[in-house]
């Protein structure tokens, strides 16, 4: 059992999960396309996720080379924490107070910076 006296979290965003208690499966997914363009962007047209290969990439799970068997002896069932401070949780991040069986988190992030030509040589 997890005992936490106090937890403060400033922000939680983009498919992130804050779980209090036990869970069986946690599977957050996040596809993020961050575009910064000089002069600003008026529309998200032309920035469809499908046209970037990173978002179509399929990730295959690593193969289990070895089966691990074991046993847990909970002499003292508690994990106690007096205080937790977390500034931010983002992009399929997981914060859990408790136990789970399976976590499978995937985040795909692409950044694009578009500068006009007269800035060449600056802004590195």
């Amino acid at each position: 059992m997890t005992r936490v006296k106090q937890l403060k979290m400033e922000s939680l965003s983009y498919s992130s999960i804050f779980q209090i208690g036990d869970a069986k499966e946690i599977e957050p997914r996040a596809d993020v396309l961050a575009v910064q363009k000089e002069g600003g962007i008026s529309s998200d047209k032309g920035f469809e996720l499908e046209q970037y290969p990173i978002f179509n990439t399929e990730l295959y799970p690593l193969q289990d080379h070895e089966t691990v068997t074991g046993e847990h002896c909970n002499h003292h069932p508690n994990i106690s924490v007096s205080s937790i401070f977390i500034n931010g949780v983002s992009s399929s991040g997981v914060v859990q107070l408790g136990s789970n069986k399976h976590i499978n988190a995937i985040s795909k992030i692409k950044h694009i910076r578009m500068l006009t030509d007269n800035n060449k040589g600056e802004n590195h």
């Binding site: 997890t2 036990d22 957050p28 363009k37 962007i41 529309s43 047209k45 032309g46 920035f47 970037y52 990730l59 799970p61 691990v68 068997t69 074991g70 046993e71 847990h72 002896c73 909970n74 002499h75 003292h76 994990i79 106690s80 924490v81 007096s82 205080s83 937790i84 401070f85 977390i86 500034n87 931010g88 949780v89 983002s90 992009s91 399929s92 991040g93 997981v94 914060v95 859990q96 107070l97 408790g98 136990s99 789970n100 069986k101 399976h102 976590i103 988190a105 995937i106 985040s107 795909k108 992030i109 692409k110 950044h111 694009i112 910076r113 578009m114 500068l115 006009t116 800035n119 060449k120």
Partner: protein, 69 residues
């Protein structure tokens, strides 16, 4: 492989974390199986200097796929 875990008293004072980001995990408890994957494409690779092809792309989308209008 066989292993045995003895959970005695676990007590932690204060935890301070700046960020849990991009498929990262912070857990106070047990987990049996953890898969965390993250794909990044960030500058400098993603710099586009002097070429603005978004306008052209907009036109393509509008003419080729009317549903995008």
């Amino acid at each position: 492989m066989h292993y045995q875990v003895n959970n005695w008293n676990i007590g932690v004072g204060n935890i301070s974390i700046l960020g849990v980001s991009a498929s990262s995990l912070f857990i106070v408890g047990d987990s049996h199986e953890i898969h965390l994957a993250s794909l990044f494409d960030t500058p400098p690779e993603s710099y586009v200097v002097g070429v603005d092809n978004t306008t052209r792309r907009n036109e393509e989308l509008i003419t080729d796929v009317p549903a995008n209008d």
